[in-house]
């Protein structure tokens, strides 16, 4: 996979990094953004929840909802970074689309407050909203988006639609119809089936919540069209030429399974996939000695008991463990590639510690964007071990 060419190409305008939680999406996004800036692009990276030290090294203060320039000495391009504040983004949408009095009403509504800070999917929806805003300004020629740490990578694609369906869906209208149509007269309009429904919902949720929702919907009524339209527009943005998805996974069964689902979904939606980044692999420095032989040699060396025997035996055991780990990782990767032979894979070896500064990001960027040549072990970069022969 030629990520280096992809981010340097002026036709590439948006890169979305997806994957399940804990696979290194944020670091990957930041490393790609830095590499793009060093390749001369004017780039902004939208991060969702960066590690504190990484955020500091990017000059991000907590809950800053605006892009800030990051000082990258000697880079021909520009790097900007921002961290998403979902509540503030939501508030801004409300303020931008209603009169001041109405906005005030909405912002003070308890249901809105819960919705904007904790509704499942708000973060995804707002990440897309922010992406749409950044894209509309034309201030950057490349936007790299890190996606929220949701359970499933698919949530990023699904949540905005679910949210806008929810906000202007028939259910919420039915539910709040009595209040809007004026009490009992409204009730008759919606029929008996709904009466049962409404009674149960109010039993479950309590009357107060229903009243809050009604007030919220009434206040928001004029904005509904706007909400749906915006969500649809941003979703379409993701299908336009110039947008690429990069799926990130670690060599773990769960993460690769999520990556598989996501890859399938992208192809169903007709969204362009650049490839899979297999992050934090553990390639051995040599594959010339198998795990079994290394274990046996470790015993023999330990028994011989010469000078530095303990050290050499230890080094052999380290190698045996690395080979076992590499075999497992390779097997997982093979399983993915046999199911998705058309998807290019780029492996990124695990760093010894956390990546939390520009130097660390640069090292990772080089792994991501470097040429597709052979690795130190003599096998192709994307492979840790030689392919099994059939």
């Amino acid at each position: 996979m030629d990520l280096g060419g992809l981010i340097a190409d002026s036709d590439t305008r948006i890169v979305v990094c997806c994957g399940s939680g804990g696979v290194g999406k944020t670091t990957t996004s930041a490393a790609l953004a830095l590499a793009a800036a060093e390749a001369g692009r004017r780039v902004v990276v939208l991060t969702i929840d960066p590690a504190r030290r990484l955020a500091q090294s990017l000059g991000l203060k907590e809950l800053d909802n605006e892009p800030r320039p990051v000082d990258v000495p000697g880079a021909p391009g520009e790097l900007h970074a921002m961290m998403l504040d979902m509540k503030r983004t939501f508030d801004d949408v409300v303020v931008a689309h209603s009169t001041p009095e109405r906005a005030e009403q909405i912002l003070a509504n308890p249901f809105y407050q819960a919705l904007s800070s904790s509704f499942a999917g708000t973060q995804e929806y707002m990440a897309m909203e922010k992406l749409g805003q950044l894209r509309a300004t034309e201030r950057w020629d490349l936007i790299i988006v890190d996606t929220p740490p949701s359970r499933s990578a698919l949530d990023f694609l699904d949540a905005p639609n679910r949210m806008s369906r929810f906000l202007d869906g028939t259910m919420i209208r039915l539910l709040t119809a009595p209040a809007r149509a004026g009490g009992r007269a409204g009730m008759r309009l919606v029929g008996a089936g709904f009466m049962v429904f409404s009674r149960i919902i109010s039993k479950i949720l309590g009357g107060q919540l229903l009243r809050d929702i009604s007030a919220f919907v009434a206040a928001l009524d004029t904005m509904f069209g706007g909400f749906r339209e915006r969500a649809t527009q941003t979703y379409e943005l993701l299908r336009r030429p110039g947008t690429w998805f990069v799926v990130v996974a670690t060599p773990e069964p769960d993460a690769l399974r999520e990556a598989s689902y996501f890859v399938d979904r992208l192809s169903t939606e007709g969204m362009p996939l650049a490839g899979l980044v297999l992050n934090r692999t553990h390639p051995p420095a040599t594959t010339a000695l198998s795990a079994t032989r290394a274990e046996a040699a470790a015993e023999a060396v330990a028994e011989s008991g010469g000078k530095d025997a303990k050290l050499a035996a230890g080094a052999l055991r380290v190698h045996a463990e690395r080979m076992a780990l590499a075999t497992r990782e390779q097997r997982l990767e093979d399983r993915f590639t046999s199911a998705h032979p058309q998807v290019p894979v780029r492996t990124v070896p695990a760093a010894a510690g956390d990546v939390h500064d520009l130097a660390g990001l640069r090292v990772m960027g080089a792994e991501l964007t470097g040429p597709d040549g052979d690795a130190a072990t003599g096998t192709p970069r994307t492979r840790v071990l030689p392919a099994r022969r059939g």
């Binding site: 399940s20 939680g21 804990g22 590690a51 030290r53 819960a114 904790s118 509704f119 499942a120 359970r151 499933s152 929810f166 259910m171 919420i172 089936g193 049962v196 429904f197 149960i200 919902i201 109010s202 039993k203 479950i204 949720l205 309590g206 009357g207 107060q208 919540l209 773990e252 069964p253 769960d254 051995p284 420095a285 040599t286 010339a288 032989r293 290394a294 046996a296 040699a297 060396v301 010469g306 000078k307 530095d308 025997a309 303990k310 050290l311 050499a312 035996a313 230890g314 080094a315 052999l316 380290v318 190698h319 690395r322 076992a324 780990l325 497992r328 010894a352 510690g353 956390d354 939390h356």
Partner: protein
């Protein structure tokens, strides 16, 4: 828990602020005053929560005990872990342990849980099914942040307190809970819900759940890796949980690198001060000595020592959290039932030490 039952001030989260008659300060000092029965396992995404929860269930089920392992995130991770077909919304045996113990697993289906709830409290099973066809159940479980969590924690509470012929059905319940970022909200449903639903059965339900969650029979275990961000999230989660007076149990360090080099060589290797020449003579005695191999082995030994050193540097921060801590090694092979029992063995030792202390 009288304060909680009377209904907390809707503007305040957490029972401590209401000055209830319980003594939550005990929690921080000794989490093991009474044997905990509800073990909630959380951690940052990617730290191996599900694996640890599975191993903990096996450990607790040793010697003939019966343990329920609960999945809350609907991803069928438990079925994959124990290599069984996808779990229905039903308690199914997934493993047996020594002395006739067993682990049952339950994947909570949120819609089924709501229907069960409607049936239990309102005798509304048939109406419920009709509502599902209208899409109303999906709506109700997503409409209010927290309804989902109330249903999940309600079901968990039911399993913890369930009795059959006067005997507890489960000796322990282990929950594979949402990640650290959402755990306080997940467990702190009362605060969330009391702001939204100031009355109604959901409120009553959440108060009942909180009574169990804040009692000494509950502990929340935090799974972390020896990496900066997971350790930071663990510290943040402990601080948040302490505020809501939900008892914190152990910190479980997962996938720790165990040093394979002799202690006196570790520092030297981490500083990059070993080379192929140091290894070659000893390697030659085993007949695997050639220069290129020795050099490669030295590079791997240096990487190993550096990973160990960077992980070891975080142990101080974990100790500073002041919680009982146990380390689980990084297993190089696939995580199968055998591997799970290996991890369970380590957890069992840890639990035994904790109980004796």
């Amino acid at each position: 828990m009288v304060a909680a039952l009377q209904g907390p001030d809707p503007g305040v989260r957490g029972v401590g602020a209401q000055g209830g008659p319980s003594t939550p300060t005990l929690v921080g000092v000794s989490p093991q005053t009474a044997p905990a029965r509800l073990h909630v396992v959380t951690g940052k995404g990617g730290t191996g929560k599900t694996t640890v929860a599975g191993a903990l269930a096996l450990a607790l089920a040793a010697d003939g005990r019966c343990v329920l392992l609960v999945e809350t995130e609907g991803r069928q991770g438990i079925a994959q872990l124990f290599d069984t077909p996808p779990l229905p919304y039903e308690e199914r045996r997934v493993a047996v342990t020594r002395g006739g113990g067993e682990v049952k697993a339950l994947a909570i289906d949120i819609e089924e849980a709501l229907l069960e709830y409607l049936d239990m409290f309102y005798n509304l099973k048939r109406a419920g099914r009709a509502l599902r066809r209208m899409g109303a159940i999906d709506f109700a479980t997503t409409i209010a942040p927290g309804v989902r969590d109330v249903l999940l924690t309600g079901k968990i509470k039911e399993a913890v307190t369930r009795r059959h012929d006067g005997q507890r059905v489960y000796d322990a319940v282990v929950v594979d809970a949402p990640p650290t970022g959402r755990i306080t909200r997940f467990l702190g449903v009362t605060g969330e819900m009391s702001q939204l639903t100031r009355s109604g059965p959901i409120k009553t339900q959440s108060d009942g759940v909180m009574a169990v969650l804040r009692s000494p029979q509950t502990v929340v275990h935090l799974v972390t890796l020896l990496e900066d961000m997971p350790v930071q999230e663990t510290a943040d989660a402990i601080a948040e949980l302490d505020q809501t007076h939900i008892p914190v149990g152990s910190v479980i360090v997962n996938m720790a690198t165990e040093p394979l080099l002799p202690a006196d060589a570790l520092d030297r290797a981490a500083e990059g001060r070993i080379s192929g020449a140091d290894l070659a003579p000893a390697l030659a005695t085993a007949g695997v000595g050639n220069g290129a191999l020795a050099g490669a082995l030295a590079r791997e030994a240096i990487e190993h020592a550096r990973v160990w050193a960077s992980q070891d540097a975080l142990r101080g921060r974990i100790q500073a959290l002041g919680r009982p801590t146990v380390e689980l090694p990084l297993l190089t092979g696939p995580i199968d039932l055998g591997a799970l029992f290996e991890l369970a063995g380590r957890l069992e030792e840890h639990l035994a030490v904790g109980a004796a202390a």
